[in-house]
């Protein structure tokens, strides 16, 4: 194939991922000379199909975010398409692309409602957790207290300005409570759906220390520590093993 074909394939894909082709802005003439001779109507249909498929993936990850966007949805999607063409077919990569776009937008235009960024962050964390779980399901938690343990590497810890858990728990609420809260998103042991837990600051401090396998003895004497470790392990926040050498 001549090098010219690659250039034309690139031009074609640039056109098919453009807002012009997807939304029909000024598409009566070929956008670039290398697309001369193409019938633009079926190209637009191809562009629409691909866009709809991509947005399906993104909306599946950000269902609550899109619901909260309300009337702003169309504008946000249009601006997203113009700024971020499809570069990867994976769901999670498209979700990340949209999240990065939204966060950048919210730097200059504060999100409405104001807790939208927290909701979007939480939804991305849920999507990421699902992917990690698919790739490597959490191991059953060993019982007992003599173990070595470490923070669950697949858990996402998310500092939020609003306690947005009621939105994800389907609880009817006017608006989430505004307070700084550390949330943990993970798939608990013996479960296949993500859960969201609030992690108190002191507990997060302990978890932050446990990035590598740690012996119980290394933590020294501490009242209630064994119960806390057991509780964290039950919730999947700690991985526990009785084997040495990890």
């Amino acid at each position: 194939m001549p090098a010219r074909l690659l250039q034309r394939q690139i031009s074609l894909l640039e056109y098919l991922t453009s807002a012009g082709a997807i939304f029909g802005d000024g598409v009566d003439v070929p956008p670039v000379p290398s697309l001369q001779g193409f019938d633009l109507a079926p190209l637009r249909l191809e562009a629409c199909f691909s866009h709809e498929k991509r947005m399906e993936k993104i909306i599946a990850a950000f269902a609550r975010t899109f619901e909260l966007l309300g009337d702003n949805q169309a504008t946000v999607v249009r601006d997203f398409v113009a700024a971020c063409p499809s570069v990867d077919i994976r769901r999670i990569e498209n979700a990340r692309q949209f999240y990065d776009f939204a966060c950048a937008r919210w730097e200059t235009t504060p999100p409405q409602p104001p807790y939208l960024r927290d909701v979007a962050s939480c939804e991305l964390a849920i999507a990421t957790t699902r992917i990690k779980h698919k790739a490597r399901p959490s191991q059953p938690v060993a019982t007992a207290h003599t173990m070595r343990f470490r923070r669950n590497r697949d858990a996402v810890f998310l500092p939020c300005t609003y306690d947005i858990r009621p939105i994800f728990e389907g609880r009817v609420t006017d608006a989430p409570e505004r307070r700084d809260v550390m949330l943990a998103i993970l798939i608990p042991p013996d479960n296949d759906q993500p859960a969201i837990f609030e992690v108190p600051a002191s507990v997060y401090g302990l978890l932050a220390e446990l990035g590598t396998w740690t012996d119980r003895a290394a933590l020294g004497p501490m009242e209630g520590l064994d119960e806390l470790i057991s509780d964290l392990a039950d919730h999947g926040l700690l991985e526990v093993t009785s084997e040495a050498g990890h």
Binding site: M1, L6, Q9, I10, L45
Partner: protein, 294 residues
């Protein structure tokens, strides 16, 4: 491993979203088609679910991630992963689409057509030979459905496919739904297409159901390959011809949307089996005109 008799084997494309249902109904299928990309990118648990089926049912290997038509060298690391999966599946063949889906900096995730010229065919021929040198089972090319045509195309669909297959000995995975849609959307005779294929070249068949698309910017409604609805009778009529003329090894029902419509899926499998039975009983052969070269 060869596909279980009766020939052709009738099965479905495995989708992990309905993996449990598929495993519960394995007895209804002669084979499964595995999308190798799902084994590569979906993580070990999904891949394990698939590999656990080895020995329980024959599986053939299908790809969606090669983008053979992108005008850049093939991704050999990807092909090597495919080769490993094909071996683990004990697949009798590996198929991919005659299409491109991406170019540097863009990935549309949709199968797009190529300019049908001798020059482009030459490039594809070289790539098919490369695939054949790295994957030790027969390689099959699949015809895609396409909405637009490259202005420089100088060959018909069947001329383009025949040229590539003749030069490489690659077989065809013929998607009868795609053939049906393309014939409708681009105004050619699908039966002439079938008659122009050398007898026996079709090794596997895809069947699926699409939708009619109405948009204000289209001069007329177009048919689209959505893999979401029952296979149309017109596509099954094309299957009849394929069965008589090519005696494929496998017929695979593809479904990617409305996956929970299990009755529809099973009904399509039964409709395909009925067509196969009619051909095998000879009744169809006697009543259906086929090319003289049959």
């Amino acid at each position: 491993m060869t596909l279980r008799k009766p020939s052709p084997a009738v099965g479905i494309g495995y989708r992990s979203a309905i993996g449990d249902w598929t495993r519960d109904n394995l007895a209804h299928f002669d084979m499964l088609e595995i999308t190798v990309d799902h084994c590569i990118s979906s993580g070990e648990p999904v891949a394990s679910e698939i590999f656990d089926l080895v020995g329980q049912i024959p599986m053939t290997a299908h790809g969606i991630g090669l983008s053979i038509g992108t005008d850049v060298p093939l991704d050999l690391a990807y092909l090597d992963k495919v080769a490993t999966i094909v071996e683990r599946l004990r697949a009798p063949a590996y198929s991919e689409h005659l299409a491109f889906t991406r170019a540097p900096g863009r990935d549309l995730a949709n199968l797009l057509p190529l300019p049908k010229t001798e020059e482009v065919a030459g490039s594809i021929i070289a790539k098919v030979r490369m695939i054949q040198s790295r994957i030790p089972v027969p390689f099959l090319l699949e015809n895609i459905s396409y909405l637009f045509e490259w202005p420089e195309s100088r060959m018909t669909d069947v001329e383009f496919l025949n040229l590539i297959c003749r030069e490489t000995d690659a077989g065809l995975l013929l998607d009868v739904e795609n053939l049906y849609l393309n014939a409708h959307n681009h105004g050619f005779d699908p039966h002439a297409f079938l008659n122009d294929l050398p007898a026996g070249i079709v090794k596997e068949v895809h069947a699926a159901g699409g939708v009619t698309v109405h948009r204000d910017f289209l001069a007329r409604p177009l048919l689209a390959d959505s893999h979401s609805h029952p296979v149309p009778d017109d596509a099954l009529d094309l299957l009849d011809r394929v069965l008589v003329r090519h005696r494929p090894d496998a017929v695979v029902l593809e479904r990617d949307d409305r996956l929970l419509e299990f009755d529809e899926i099973m009904d399509d499998v039964h409709r395909i089996r009925a067509r196969v039975a009619a051909v095998q009983s000879g009744s169809l052969h006697a009543s259906t005109p086929v090319a003289a070269s049959d």
